[in-house]
Symmetry: C2
Subunit: 415 residues, 2 copies
């Protein structure tokens, strides 16, 4: 079936490139992008057109790092030091997902909130619970959120949320057996090196190799953590090597934060194709620092953005884009490294993440449509007619759930 | 007439103090706070009660620095260096307010947006135009926004927006003659030292003294500007002295930014009772830096917050509070100076500003009510029952126009 979307088309197909087509046409065949056009080709003349008027049609957001069971604690505990925050809020909140009816309610709200905020692809941490993780995946699929979800593994230093090594492995197997979803797939998720014993890391590395499963975890978020990993793995010169030792450091592995990754660690990421997921709001909220994003990119490390709720305080990925710009401006003042422009940061929060999942950076023919439609008519009345680039920039800063009028995920309208 | 508001009362009556009364009573006599009560005194038993249920009743926000004629450019030009941003956007946009019907439309939208965002008191820059400034004051008063508005003075280095010295003075007099508003009063507004000739500064200083008018301007926002002032006033050891020279440095003078104010400048503020208005988002967006807020406070300088649109990208003062916290966390990482807690930063964005205008820090008996009611029932379902302090903290981070259910300004419900 042919569908045609008509409106102002805006895309950042690659890092730093912005393309606009005023009142253009986006042609879909069964949800797959056929192409975009300035004028509608004759052969589509008879097809139905969805006209979004002056709306801005742009690729949706991809959130490559967030903790689903921390959604209930969004915006709380921000005055606490990291370890107290983990004990008072994080581990206690995550432990609640033993209760499956609670999990169902919270995850349904989260999945709808993601779609309403324009996020259609995610790489997500769940809790340690296999059953709640399956409920999370089911609710995401129902709402139209696609991507990867991981049951978290943590058999040490995880307070109330801790499991034994045996439980951790058997729950993981039970969870994997029951992962039968079309759009949401499993990803192995050792919480981070200090929370996983050597034998658990070994078991997960084996599983990753045997079943070809992807991996996500945390890397070099703060200095205390880095020192801790050094004590736990004296044979590893750097944090990342504690993942490599067990076969978890491989192409497509997602590493959240990388705030303190030095050139050697960055080169190890570039060499192996490991991704850095930049979570600017969380890194400031938890006093971790500002990540060297441009340095990572210049070294060839693939970078995407994450909301990192609930270290981050907002699911809205346009706000994650704005915070990435702000963090880069703070770094520029410190190091002289040029800040991220709006199109650059938007690409990291959108196209880069879509590419991780095999999609296109922008509206790439042959890929399923992941897009939002923004109505900017409620924004302040401008002093003159704006270019589409200006309207794009303003939308990145000002959009919220009220201005996001449509969300397409995997080619289907979901809002 | 007696009005009683019933709900969860939350206030930060002074810096760092948070007080909560679960399901308490706030008694108003003709819009003036009589007192707050845990239980309703017998003598009010027959009075009508507005029950906000589980809503959070808390003091509204006060925005002590924003540029009304920059509202149309909100969220744009953020990739440009400061001077190019001024030329391409700011001066051109401000020049549009020659057109009074445009001014009427934009200022009406702005005034409503302020109320919807929970801001009931402002200290605001207008453009150079007397007529448009009067329209701005009229629209604020109509919507219920109270405070101070200044016709901007700028007879040099102001591109398209520039006026001659004679025009600047005569327009100011014409504007002052026509300021007949109940809740919105005039404030003298030399844009900043580089945009005002010595004779203009002199005329404004004279006017301030003769009519007892308050003054607002900018101070030490970035290093280039500070050097520039040094060249323009070689007789002044520091930026602030260029204001003092003309009688503009006095008790209650509002100085936006103070990012690079050193101990000597800070002491001059404390000594004279000059206020620092901290605009964290703008200072990062324009790569100015992070202001030494706790240092200013420790030296006895009164501090309030400003959205500084359109260097800032959001009118929402809860976001200004959150950005002030983030900026303070970045400073803590750099200098070790403790960050601003949520109650501290909220006080700066609310009570401190109300006090500037003679109101109370919290619900102080004898002052007119300035408050918002936040409905947090749409926030993520928590993992356990939350304390009111936790709900307060979460509301500061998560509230938006959808969750602000009521706004009281000068004792009157305005939303």
């Amino acid at each position: 079936m042919t569908d045609i979307l008509h409106g102002n088309l805006i895309q950042a197909p690659s890092f730093g490139v912005l393309e606009t087509i005023p009142r253009g046409y986006l042609v879909l065949e069964d949800g797959v992008i056929e192409d975009v056009y300035r004028r509608l080709p004759e052969r589509y003349a008879a097809c139905p057109v969805t006209d979004w008027g002056q709306g801005l049609i742009m690729p949706s957001f991809a959130d490559l790092h967030l903790h689903a069971p921390q959604y209930p604690m969004l915006g709380m505990g921000m005055d606490l030091p990291l370890l107290e925050w983990l004990d008072t809020y994080t581990f206690r909140t995550e432990a609640r997902f033993e209760d499956l009816s609670y999990a169902r309610r919270v995850y349904r709200q989260l999945a709808r909130d993601l779609i309403a905020s324009g996020t259609t692809r995610v790489a997500m941490f769940s809790s340690r619970h296999a059953a709640a993780t399956l409920i999370l995946m089911e609710e995401l699929e129902r709402a139209g959120v696609t991507g990867l979800v991981g049951k978290v593994n943590m058999d040490r230093n995880a307070g109330l949320s801790q499991e034994t090594t045996e439980e951790s492995v058997s729950e993981t197997l039970r969870w994997l057996e029951n992962c039968r979803f079309r759009l949401v797939k499993p990803i192995l998720t050792p919480r981070f090196t200090p929370a996983c014993s050597d034998s658990l890391m070994e078991a997960l590395g084996k599983l990753a190799a045997e079943r070809g499963l992807p991996v996500q975890s945390h890397l070099s978020e703060n200095r205390g953590e880095i020192d801790w990993v050094g004590q736990l793995h004296p044979d590893c010169a750097q944090y990342w090597e504690s993942y490599r030792k067990y076969g978890l450091w491989k192409k497509g592995t997602l590493m959240a934060h990388c705030v303190h990754s030095d050139p050697r660690e960055q080169e190890a990421m570039a060499r192996e194709g490991v991704w850095a997921v930049h979570c600017a709001a969380s890194n400031v909220n938890l006093c971790s620092g500002t990540a060297p994003v441009r340095e990572l990119l210049n070294r060839g490390v693939p970078v995407a953005l994450g909301s990192d709720i609930a270290g981050g305080d907002s699911l809205a990925m346009n706000q994650a884009v704005v915070m990435a710009i702000r963090a880069s401006k703070l770094r520029q003042m410190e190091t002289g490294e040029p800040f991220l422009t709006v199109p650059e940061a938007y690409y990291l929060g959108s196209g880069a993440g879509h590419r991780y999942f095999g999609g296109g950076g922008g509206f790439q023919p042959g890929t399923k449509l992941h897009a939002i439609v923004v109505d900017d008519s409620g924004f302040p009345e401008p002093a003159r007619e704006l270019t589409l680039s200006e309207r794009f920039e303003r939308a990145v800063y000002l959009m919220d759930r009220r201005s996001i009028k449509a969300v397409y995920s995997e080619g289907v309208s979901r809002l």
